[in-house]
Symmetry: C2
Subunit: 200 residues, 2 copies
């Protein structure tokens, strides 16, 4: 296991955090965690750097060890739409591009200095086929990703701006201090002025 630590540049606190994250869903032996670790590499990014840019041909998936990111869809008139924010202990990517092995249509940019563990689609497949309990892990992550997206669809259709803002505050209380108001407004689909009114 020591050689793997060196190989992948996994520091001990990061290993513990990552293992704890996985073991919330599936318990792992030391050998299994070593096998899992082999599929990931550590990467560090500075604020404003991109992990994914629209048009990228090879898209990775990221587990966020520390930091904060925005996943953005830019429309034909170059307007940015915030699809999601991602912080510590979250997984993020342009998952359509990742799973269908197509070009990125979104970008993933650091709002803070960020440290991630990253893996390719090939790594994902090898990990799932080599250790079946990781399928259970990713099943739980995909299921709750789906539920979260569906709740967002419902809130965008049926909730007022005020209700959407209150839901955001309740779901992500720690993010309010870390994200510029203009980005929260974009995520909620309201103007900067409306958000000021809601948050005053």
């Amino acid at each position: 296991m020591i050689s793997l630590i060196i190989l992948n540049n996994f520091e001990i606190p990061m290993q513990l955090k990552f293992r704890e994250h996985i073991e919330k869903i599936v318990p792992l032996t030391d050998e299994e965690f070593s096998f899992v670790s082999q599929h990931f590499s550590v990467k560090k990014f500075k604020k404003h750097q991109f992990l994914i840019q629209k048009g990228d041909k090879s898209v990775y998936s990221f587990f966020i060890v520390s930091g904060l990111l925005k996943l953005v869809y830019t429309d034909d008139s170059e307007k940015e739409h915030i699809v999601s924010f991602a912080m510590e202990d979250w997984w993020e990517s342009d998952y359509y591009a990742f799973f269908t092995q197509t070009e990125a249509t979104m970008s993933l940019e650091c709002l803070e200095d960020t440290e991630v563990l990253c893996f390719s689609f090939e790594d994902y497949k090898n990990l799932c086929s080599g250790l079946q309990k990781m399928e259970r892990f990713f099943l739980e992550k995909a299921t709750f990703g789906f539920l979260s997206s569906q709740r967002r669809i419902i809130s965008s259709m049926a909730f007022s701006s005020k209700e959407r803002y209150e839901q955001f505050l309740k779901q992500y209380p720690s993010l309010i201090q870390r994200i510029p108001k203009s980005l929260i407004a974009s995520y909620l689909g309201v103007s900067r002025e409306t958000l000021s009114r809601l948050s005053s």
Copy 2:
């Protein structure tokens, strides 16, 4: 296997269809398919009947053998919002209620006479723990459910009414003839008049 067919009221064409559906993702032996079948029951519903009603305490998940359904969120002012349509070969439920074992906040209603295979969350857990390849099956379904929801979020934020309508036509060409225009308008988040203009 014969006894299971009788037990669960599975007719042969339905069995073949269901098995083919699963085997698009994971191949099954006869014994495995028999094990899978044990977790499902056949149910038939008439147009306008509800498979789930808001407030239901025990929510099932459904594989649609034939027919058409709408998944609806009703807001506090009793306005209906179409979260999704579901037709043959699709899985549908109030999945938040299903996976978190909480009361239904949505309703699922037949737009046509509908035949489904249904299973409980207990069945889902037993099926996954008893036959690990079904975890792979549900992982693929959950992943593509997540991707589809995320595409819908992006289209509601970044696409015009016209683009959303064209995307719907492209994705679900067969549904246009089967669904009342007023429901398509609700799904797309446009007025009935706007939809008439778009589809003329």
